[in-house]
Amino acid sequence: MNAMPARPVLINAASGAAPTAKSGVPPKPSETKVLALKAPPNAYVTRLLGACRETASTVIPPLVVLAMLLLVWQLATDKPGATLPSPMKIWTEANDLIVSPFFVYGPQDIGLGWRVLTSLERVAYGFGLAAIFGIVVGAIIGQSVWAMRGLDPIFQVLRTVPPLAWLPISLAAFQDSGPSAVFVIFITAVWPVIINTAVGIRNIPQDYRNVAEVLRLNPIEYFWRIMIPSAAPYIFTGLRIGIGLSWLAIVAAEMLTGGVGIGFFIWDAWNSSRLSDIVVALIYIGIVGFVLDRLVAMIGRIATRGTANA
């Protein structure tokens, strides 16, 4: 009998905000009240525990591996004459870069957060252009068998050209570092968008084409109502590859422009032998690239709901 009244109190404490908790637990709760309270908070706690376990199972393994890697790194580089800095050394040398991304000490002495934002703006221009141009051109190519046959081999060759190789040509063409940098990002990211869009358009099921024909949709209606939604999963695959590539091109692009981008920061740090700073910048680039990828994937999931599982 002693355990019975104690139970709701415990459970309320665990679940935080059970509705009856506010009224206060009466000193002598009736049997029915105790029974009514028992089930739902228990279920809630079970679910909470389940969620915790699930989160832990996805978060803990990478953390363990990371810790092991850092340890190995530390052991390998923690001796005099090591060519690369150890994690501990990076932590002390580049502490301000790690802990505060948004400091401003001077025109060229700013946090990596600011640099990333500048680079992101550049990527936004280049990738935005690549997305628009790539979808339109891909749609045109996907419509025509001959355009596909004629252009696809050329695109397959051009898409393998590394971003750095485009630098001299774009500099010669634009005569100015700003547009050249955007062009390098654009030209790196545009191919997968074109190719995937074209494949997506070619794979529009005959059923949808028939529906469009029976309804007598005009070309503009067909583009917006059938082509784009139907090819959306392919288009987003292209965009996802494209955003990855355009972020890859940022270092190459910013070798030209100088200024405050994260890509230029690495170039600059190399020239003044600040290896620790470079490592921190690499981690920033990696994380931002990961977030960009997930962002496009998420937008794609929302935009293609219904289409993908048809």
Partner: protein, 268 residues
């Protein structure tokens, strides 16, 4: 078919040949058929006999090689909403809701003739007709196969077609759902009096729904083998017909055609 005026829909000496690479295959050979307004005609035959091709020719999705399809004395050259098609696999656009799938057709066909409110009402009216108004905000992936086909029918009906073309509309459905939908189609046909052409390979379905059954020989070079008049009074009730001698005779005639005289040959 005793009227002297021009038939509503005329199929006149239609041949259809498909060319692939260097080889030509004749799919349909000299098909001629007149269909009266308000008539419900089924086309039955073994798979591969070109019955879907015939429907596509009437729909205008495929062009005839020689001959002509005439609707109200005008030649059919391209697809259009006056010959709405209910496709075999529903062909709903998966990114649109049930309502939007019908509404896109209504907007396209009645964009000028009806006001926005009228178009909305007409969309709902057609969903009501197939008893799908309750699911109007769902997407095709969220509803069952039978429901999808109902929406497909609603979309076709919403175009107010002169001829409703159905390409094995219930082929992909289980038997119970199929029976439900057959009853729905009968009711709608009785109510609206549409001219309808249905492709099927189900003998019971053909007898139950049709005024006439067109039986096709096996392909290649399929022809119309026989045309059977089904003179069962409407409205027809599935259960009452089971013992009806006229029903049994009609059924027997179709079965005999399909399984005695034109048995399906795999090699063909």
């Amino acid at each position: 078919m005793t009227t002297t005026e021009k038939p509503f829909l005329q199929i006149e000496g239609v041949h259809k040949t498909f060319r692939r690479g260097g080889t030509e295959t004749e799919v349909l050979h000299d098909i001629s058929l007149d269909i009266a307004e308000g008539e419900f005609v089924s086309i039955i035959g073994h798979s591969g006999c070109g019955k879907s091709t015939l429907l596509n020719l009437i729909a205008g999705l495929t062009r005839v090689t020689t001959g002509a399809v005439l609707l109200e004395d005008r030649e059919v050259n391209d697809p259009g909403p006056e010959r709405a098609v209910v496709f075999q696999n529903h062909s709903l656009l998966p990114w649109l809701t049930v309502y939007e799938n019908v509404h896109i057709a209504v907007n396209k066909v009645f964009g000028r003739a009806k006001s926005r409110a009228e178009r909305h009402d007409w969309t709902l009216h057609n969903l009501d007709l197939v008893q799908m108004a309750h699911a109007k905000d769902k997407r095709p992936a969220e509803i069952s196969g039978g429901m999808k086909q109902r929406v497909g029918i609603a979309r076709a009906l919403a175009m107010e077609p002169k001829v409703l073309l159905m390409d094995e509309p219930f082929g992909a459905l289980d038997a119970l759902t199929r029976a439900h939908l057959q009853d729905s189609v009968m009711q709608i046909h009785a109510r609206l009096g549409n001219t309808a052409i249905m492709i099927t390979h189900d003998v019971d379905e053909a007898v139950l729904l049709s005024d006439r059954i067109v039986m096709m020989t096996n392909g290649p070079s399929a022809r119309i083998g026989e045309v059977l008049d089904v003179d069962l009074p409407r409205p027809r009730k599935r259960l009452e017909l089971v013992a009806d001698t006229r029903y049994i005779h009609a059924r027997e005639a179709v079965l005999k055609f399909l399984y005695e005289r034109h048995r399906f040959v795999e090699a063909a």
